[in-house]
């Protein structure tokens, strides 16, 4: 299944504040691409632009599926989900007063997703067994790690081809961050899901990423073709690894 995402010269902002300037990046089928950067540098804005929650001011977000190109910057979130893009938002954004199962069922709201609901539910429970045990529990009463798993599982319920994961590590202990990242890596390896992940935890993100981008003040400052290239980059050393540039 051929799928690729290509973002070209994207500007976005809130009022007078420019959050993204001339951002270009691409994701090919089967890849896990890391979008790295510390807080407030525009990672979430970029993810929201792809998901249709924020309208970019300029530029093109082109999603090509089986040869047909779609400009996501002109589509509603509804249509983007329909095309096979699902997002795990920052902060998880579950429905706290609904049960685990009800949250999962809402992930399959689209008509196309309803047809494969049994299969997707089985996949979700197989990937995250704790969700099966707790399916009747209110989502808001679960621990942070379990909530993150539910948020990922809920996104999988729409049968996505491209999974956007925004800051999966926020608010989790180091051990849970590691487990969550490993799970995302497994989804890519075992299920062939294409993943774009925004993350500030460099070392965790590059465990599963095949390559990555670094975003600083709304601009892509590093576009590395491999993880090794990322590790060796001077800006990365200065920002993340504490080494002398």
């Amino acid at each position: 299944m051929a799928l690729s995402l290509a973002i070209n010269d994207l500007d976005a902002g809130y009022g007078a504040v420019k959050a993204l300037r001339g951002v270009s990046l691409h994701v090919e089928a089967g890849e896990t691409v890391a979008l790295l950067g510390t807080n407030g540098n525009g990672k979430s804005t970029l993810m929201k632009c792809i998901a249709g929650l924020v309208r970019p001011q300029r530029g093109v977000i082109s999603l090509t599926i089986d040869g047909a190109a779609h400009d996501l910057s002109r589509l509603s979130t509804e249509d983007i989900v329909e095309l096979g893009v699902a997002m795990v938002p920052e902060g998880r954004r579950l429905f706290p007063r609904l049960t685990v199962l009800e949250n999962l069922m809402l992930g399959a709201f689209r008509k196309a997703a309803r047809r494969s609901i049994d299969r997707n539910l089985a996949v979700a429970f197989e990937t995250f067994p704790v969700l099966k045990e707790r399916q009747g529990q209110l989502a808001g009463t679960m621990s942070g790690g379990q909530q993150q798993m539910l948020a990922i599982a809920r996104a999988l319920m729409s049968s996505p081809r491209l999974l956007l994961v925004d800051e999966p590590s926020v608010g989790l202990s180091p051990l849970l961050v590691s487990q969550t990242i490993t799970k995302i890596g497994e989804l890519n390896q075992n299920r062939g899901l294409t993943v774009l992940m925004a993350e500030q935890n460099f070392n965790q993100a590059i465990r599963i990423a095949s390559r990555g981008y670094i975003i600083v003040h709304g601009e892509i400052v590093v576009a590395a073709a491999s993880v090794d290239e990322l590790r060796g980059n001077d800006i990365v050393k200065r920002l993340y690894l504490g080494g002398a540039a």
Binding site: V81, R93, R97
Partner: protein, 293 residues
């Protein structure tokens, strides 16, 4: 003087009266309880439905309950249109829309009241049907059929709405929409359309509830005002958004009103709804059946 028989009688009638209160509050439990729409025109819609039922009964001899079911689709459309108007003029524009929303719905309520007066006058109106005026004797207690009708319909509506909200995709989305609209967009839905649909359902339920209102007692154009306190008391007491909780809360209100009416007289009854509401909110701010977090 106080007697056990009198108390028992008051409780039985109170339970049935409470079921009636439940039936007229269920729609508000959706619109205000789940959608956070400050729908103070809810009782005015209710009275409007009663007059529609009266019109069909008076002119075409349609049974009031059948009339209530007949106007349900019309009220559904009326609800869709009302929400769209409210959304475009108020809700869309920002965070203080809640307060201005109340003004909007008060305006709608008064317009409906005036239109009813212009069309039907200020006199009380009632409907005719076989089951109105007759009663069922249970030992020493006399139970009016009209209250049994209210009991049956309130129970049926509660079960139907509960099933709809928990078993269908749309129902689950309706319960989710007030919790996190942006997250709901990421599920591939349009929250505004979900809310509009839900408001349509909340208004459709008023069709049959309006039939009950005029079956239980004659109506006049300003009757809605007496039900603002009662319906909001029931919905808030229930804990916002619980259908079965709404019915139980309504029964508590009905029993309390009935006992006070029997023991202390009619002038105290209207104060009961707010007294109970304040008492419960002091002890359990999330309502009796409200779920946290």
């Amino acid at each position: 003087m106080f007697s056990l028989d009198l108390l028992l009688d008051a409780v039985v009638i109170g339970v049935l009266l409470g079921c009636f209160y439940g039936a007229v509050s269920l729609g508000l439990s959706v619109s205000f309880g789940l959608l956070d729409v400050p729908h103070v025109a809810h009782p005015a819609f209710l009275v409007l439905a009663s007059y529609a039922v009266y019109f069909l009964n008076e002119n075409y001899a349609v049974d009031p309950l059948v009339a209530g079911i007949l106007i349900t689709p019309v009220f559904f459309l009326f609800g869709l249109a009302t929400y769209r108007l409210y959304y475009e003029t108020f809700e869309k524009r920002g965070s203080d829309a809640g307060v201005r929303g109340i003004a909007f719905f008060f305006g709608v309520a008064f317009i409906i009241e005036v239109l009813i007066i212009l069309q039907f006058g200020v006199d009380q109106r009632s409907v005719t049907a076989d089951y109105i005026g007759k009663a069922w004797r249970l030992g020493d207690i006399r139970i009016p059929y009209r209250l049994l009708v209210a009991f049956a319909i309130a129970t049926a509506l509660t079960v139907l709405l509960t099933l709809y909200l928990s078993r269908t995709f749309m129902g689950r989305a309706i319960r989710a929409v007030a919790q996190d609209q942006e997250a709901l967009r990421l599920m591939g839905t349009n929250p505004v359309k979900i809310k509009q649909w839900a408001f349509g359902i909340a208004t459709a339920v008023l069709g049959i509830a309006g039939a009950l209102l005029i079956i239980v007692a004659p109506v006049d154009p300003t009757l809605g005002r007496a039900y603002i306190g009662r319906t909001f008391c029931v919905v808030v007491m229930a804990g916002l958004g619980s259908m079965s909780g709404t019915l139980v809360a309504a029964i508590i209100l009905g029993v309390a009103e009935s006992i006070v009416l029997t023991m202390f007289g009619a002038s105290w009854a209207p104060a009961i709804s707010f007294a109970i509401l304040l008492g419960i909110l002091a002890v359990r701010p999330q309502g009796l059946f409200g779920r946290r977090p």
